[in-house]
């Protein structure tokens, strides 16, 4: 039991080592570490939705942007304390996801495209010059009065740890198994008593909440931004690729995917940008062709075949 808790908690320990101890020791680059944490949170949010329900949200960044703008407006116009405003950012993303609930009736590519369109709509509302009095439209936001680089860094770490803990819970709870059952086969999941609508809805709201909080904390950290910064489609794409690379529906997958690929992106992307797109493109093609369940499936496959051998030996007796 203790051993099991230990192995369940290992991802949290590793993350604390990288992001809490790291800045004071080997990687003295808080800006990169912060961005990596934001992607870790988003990748786990994608994991909750895509990994556990099979819905691939290309427009996921819409929740991120909604959280960023939601928190900012609440701070600047309503003068909420910053922590409360960040919570409000998460709640606003959840409210938008409630409005978008009918989208869960779409499947496959239709959902992916629908979510993209929805994110575009939220972006256009936020960037609309007519809303300048609320969102400052296309002219951007300045959170200088509440800026705090250190606290926002730690808060992002807290969010990452909470998101990872949530996924660990999903991997071990009835609710998580119900989601996986639903992803595999909605008809037999229904017959196994899984409340299809409620279960899917909760996963959808949870993943929106994670993205909303991530956006709000991100906004606090960078403090000056424009609609295009927060609704940049590349944010969705990156988080999706990181999750796919590491392996969906696992705890480690999005962590490994983000640390490796975002690390690679920083290393190749900044030192030799001309190679970056090539390497990244090849990686994605190779991934989709040869490793659809990500790096974690290599480890999983080995474990499974060992397991099968043991079973086989027993059955032959």
């Amino acid at each position: 039991m203790l051993k099991r808790l230990g192995s369940m908690g290992l991802p949290l320990v590793v993350l604390v080592l990288i992001f809490a101890v790291g800045p004071y020791t080997v990687f003295n680059n808080p800006a990169t570490l912060f961005e990596m944490m934001a992607f870790l949170a988003l990748a786990q949010g994608i994991n909750v939705l895509y990994g556990f329900t099979g819905y691939l949200p290309f427009g996921y960044v819409g929740f991120f942007g909604a959280g960023a703008y939601g928190a900012s407006v609440v701070v600047l116009k309503l003068h909420f304390p910053i922590l409360l405003a960040i919570l409000a950012g998460g709640v606003i993303a959840v409210l938008i996801s409630v409005i978008l609930l009918p989208m869960l009736r779409l499947s496959g590519a239709y959902f992916a495209i629908g979510s993209l369109a929805a994110a575009e709509i939220v972006y256009n509302v936020v960037a609309n010059p007519n809303l300048q009095s609320v969102t400052n439209g296309p002219y951007g936001i300045n959170l200088a009065p509440v800026f705090n680089a250190t606290l926002s860094y730690w808060l992002m770490l807290v969010l990452v740890l909470v998101a990872v803990t949530f996924v660990i819970w999903l991997r071990h709870s009835s609710f998580g198994f119900s989601l996986l059952a639903l992803r595999d086969d909605p008809v037999s999941a229904g017959m196994a008593g899984v409340n299809i609508v409620r279960t899917r809805t909760l996963a959808w709201l949870a993943s929106a909440f994670i993205a909303g909080l991530a956006g709000a904390i991100y906004a606090w950290h960078i403090s000056v931004f424009y609609p295009g910064t927060m609704f940049d489609l590349n944010i969705s794409i990156f988080a999706i690729v990181f999750t796919l690379f590491g392996g969906r529906a696992t705890v480690w997958g999005p962590i490994i995917g983000t640390v490796v690929l975002y690390g690679l992106y920083n290393w190749i992307g900044f030192s030799t940008p001309q190679y970056f797109q090539l390497v990244y493109g090849l990686l994605i093609v190779g991934l989709v062709l040869f490793l659809p369940n990500g790096v974690m499936s290599l480890i999983g496959r080995r474990r499974k075949s060992r397991h099968a051998e043991r079973k086989g030996a027993v059955m032959n007796v």
Binding site: S178, L180, D185, M191, G193, V194, K304, A308, K311, M315
Partner: protein
């Protein structure tokens, strides 16, 4: 007349203009095994799909323990005590065999279990920890059955479970299904293999083109002119 578990009354199910069920009525008492037979495409699976809530009936009524259940979701019906297997088995492939059964146990929460250990009951004790995706199709069908039993159904709908089994396995399966009936479960068994039906059911309903063409014993069905015509005349 004893209270029946299932009453299907004049049910019609249309796909576009095509009437897959064209006014079907049947009832099953607790502990009874009713066999539903008929040529391919006669509406047997559709009948199970309507009773289990996968498709709504376009006309007619479905009563479970006297209560109208038209329009209820599959998960509500599962919790009420209706469960089923699938003609093409539908395991949760990303889960282990045991986890497959656990999903039903934990979501349906039956007040009293029907069998202590559904996997042991269907003879799948030795593959508990296997991934469901690695099972062969016969094992996947038994897994469907185990998962259905985990929900402690009072009405169990079984769709062509016996296909592909050898005679020894068939006898064993027939024994298991009779045991369930002896515990009070009402069974609707859709089956092609008449030898298997013969081991199970006192009463059969023969369907053709969405309608019942015969109801009675299997022996009587074999002598019925209409039934013989449908099976032999094509």
């Amino acid at each position: 007349m004893s209270e029946s578990v299932l009453d299907v009354r004049q049910v019609v199910k249309k796909f576009g203009g095509f009437r897959a069920l064209d006014g079907v009525s049947l009832s099953i008492r607790p502990g009874e095994i009713l066999a539903l037979v008929g040529p391919n495409g006669s509406g047997k699976t559709t009948c199970i799909n309507v009773v289990s809530g996968l498709y709504p009936a376009d006309e007619g009524e479905v009563l479970f323990q006297g209560q109208r259940i038209n329009g209820l979701s599959m998960s509500s019906l599962a919790r009420l005590g209706i469960n089923r297997t699938f003609q093409i088995p539908k395991p949760f492939k990303a889960l282990t065999v045991e986890e497959n059964v656990d999903v039903a146990l934990r979501n349906i929460h039956p007040a009293t279990p029907l069998v202590d250990d559904p996997l042991a009951f269907v003879g799948m004790d030795h593959v508990r920890d296997r991934m469901a995706s690695t099972l062969n199709s016969g094992q996947q069908k038994l897994l469907d059955l185990a998962r259905a039993l985990a929900g402690a159904p009072k009405l169990l709908l079984v769709d062509e479970l016996a296909a592909g089994m050898n005679p020894a396995e068939l006898r064993q399966l027939a024994g298991k299904l009779r045991e369930l009936a002896s515990r009070g479960v009402a069974l609707l068994v859709v089956e092609h293999l008449m030898g298997f039906v013969n081991q199970l059911a006192e009463r059969v309903i023969v369907m053709n083109a969405g309608r019942e063409i015969f109801e009675g014993s299997l022996a009587a069905a074999a002598k019925d002119a209409t039934v013989v015509e449908v099976y032999l005349g094509g």
